[in-house]
């Protein structure tokens, strides 16, 4: 238990959840077959807006984060209406370019403090620790210090948000909206011919992705004390794409697994010091050679479902036979 409560691991779990939320944001846009690399840009808008609100205007966190998401969404409207006309690699690079433009604007604004970034952003775990202390739990409970308690509550809150988003994404795939998305992904022309307003749905998916990325940005800003324009550069955009491609973008579990692996991998590889990046790059190449559709695809889910079912059948049968022999 001590091992699990280590703040190092708690912090990594927080990063995993934030990245998983980003994974969902790219999954949402990719559900319509759109390859958007703008999520890092939307994330930065969410992060800066919410951080500025809490830092300068003293707005409570639970208001600031959704406002950040909304701001990202608003930006998505400005950029999305023209860009969603584009397809494939054109869209990818136009959105990547959007991210760059956002970064340069942030560097130039005074309110964002340019390259120096925003420091001293109120941290969620510190806030919660204070609440716990105020509640008279300064000594902590059950061997947990108040800081660990704060961290765990943050993870709990993040997990609830993630859980809600996963639930939403799962429901989406079986809903009318989700079927329209899938139809567009499979064949945009066919979808259009069969009466689906492809532009509307693509834009909607773009908005949803931007909103979720904005939320993730707001949350990320409030678990790390500091944000700077560097955090949302090209690397971030590619990293988010990697979650979806490595894990698989067919089902929502794919980006989730992708974000889990890609957040853990650099930490696990710390022992390799100088060779860490090389191994990381090598793993990407190997993964793509063997699982180009991502680790989890619809086939995989079906396969495991069958396997699990047959296993549980076998075990129930075993149970029955044991009972009968008795």
């Amino acid at each position: 238990m001590d091992f699990l409560l280590n703040p190092y691991y708690l912090q990594i779990i927080m990063f995993i959840i934030i990245n998983a939320i980003l994974g969902i944001s790219i999954y949402l846009t990719m559900a319509t077959g759109q390859l958007s690399l703008g999520n890092a840009g939307f994330m930065s808008i969410g992060a800066y807006v919410s951080a500025l609100l809490t830092l300068k205007a003293g707005v409570p966190l639970y208001v600031a984060v959704p406002v950040g998401g909304a701001a990202a969404c608003l930006m998505a409207a400005v950029i999305g209406i023209p860009t969603t006309r584009l397809r494939g690699i054109y869209l990818a690079i136009a959105t990547l370019g959007f991210g760059e433009v956002v970064r340069v604007v942030i560097l130039n604004l005074t309110i964002t403090n340019g390259a120096l970034g925003l420091s001293g952003i109120p941290s969620m775990s510190v806030m919660l620790s204070k609440v716990f202390t105020a509640m008279g739990l300064a000594a902590g409970i059950g061997g947990m210090s108040v800081r660990q308690l704060g961290n765990i509550s943050v993870i709990f809150i993040l997990a609830i948000i993630l859980g809600f988003l996963v639930f939403f994404a799962l429901r989406l795939s079986t809903s009318r909206l989700g079927r329209a998305f899938a139809a567009i992904k499979a064949d945009e022309h066919a979808a259009e011919v069969s009466g689906i307003d492809t532009r509307y749905y693509k834009l909607l998916a773009f908005f949803m992705g931007a909103f979720v990325a904005g939320i993730a940005g707001g949350l990320a800003a409030h678990i790390t004390f500091y944000i700077g324009p560097k955090d949302f550069a090209y690397h971030r955009a590619v990293e988010i794409l990697l979650f979806a491609v490595l894990g698989g973008s067919d089902v929502v579990w794919g980006p989730l697994l992708g974000s889990l692996i890609l957040t853990l991998l650099p930490e696990v590889l710390r022992f390799a010091t100088e060779y860490r990046e090389m191994i990381y790059g090598g793993i990407l190449v190997i993964m793509m050679a063997f699982r180009p559709q991502g680790l989890i695809s619809e086939d995989t889910l079906g396969f495991w479902q069958k396997k699990l079912m047959s296993k549980s059948e076998a075990s129930t049968q075993g149970e029955i036979s044991r009972r009968t022999t008795r």
Binding site: R85, Y90, L284
Partner: protein, 293 residues
Amino acid sequence: MFWQQMVNGITLGSTYALIALGYTLIFGVLNIVNMAHGEIFMFGAFVGLILATKFNIGIFGALLGAMVAGAVLGYLMERLALRPLRRRKVSELAPLISTIGVSIFLESLALRLFGPQAQSFPGVYSTQLFEIGGLKISAVQILILAISFGLMLVLRFWLSKTQLGKSIRATAENIETANLLGVDTQKIIVLTVMLASALGGGAGVLVGLAFNAIEPTMGITMGFKGLAVLILGGLGNITGAMVGGLLLGVAEVFSVAYGVSSYRDAVAFGLIIVLLFLRPQGLFGSQEQQGGR
């Protein structure tokens, strides 16, 4: 000042064009954005540097060596990172990620091999200055301009007139059909990747000469600009890469000269966003690939 800035812009632009040529060749044939092109470019620069400083062979020897090194890297990349993907039908994302993997690998390898310090070619090559009517132009600037235009013309001629060039174009048009028509597409693909990478390696030496800063992360910055040019000029279009590169170079320099230098890095992508709205296929892209694959 206007004309001097024009010269600056064209020099910068021709380096962008050089890099974009490699991108566009590979994209034209394979429909892949080779994210590792910038790193191959960087390796070329280092190989050229080592040849020039340690073995003291002239600048053209270094250029040749860098191109060979680029071609070898290109071959390895094709063999290890692209071919396994081609054997099965996969989405266009897989090779994108695979080449990103290669780029990360190469960058950290270069860091191990060559160290992080920025290095430069010995001064003899870059200090000759010509003054023409009040304009200062260095020998390297002229060299780069000449080589990139030369390469563009050679490439165009080669692709349209020679047997091999025709095979490349047939493969670019449609791999299956080319295969049926008896083109060894496997060989053509390997050749294209090697050619593009050799160009990248050579570009590394030229850019290293022009800007005096060879270091492991130079690939990312330049590669990024090359990517922008790829889209600006129209995917897979050689003239487009050339004109797009020059345009971007001049636009960047003029944004500094007559605008605000702090927005310089937004120029490339600002141009792209504007262009894509007006002409989704790029400056020279053909109508049929409008805004998509």
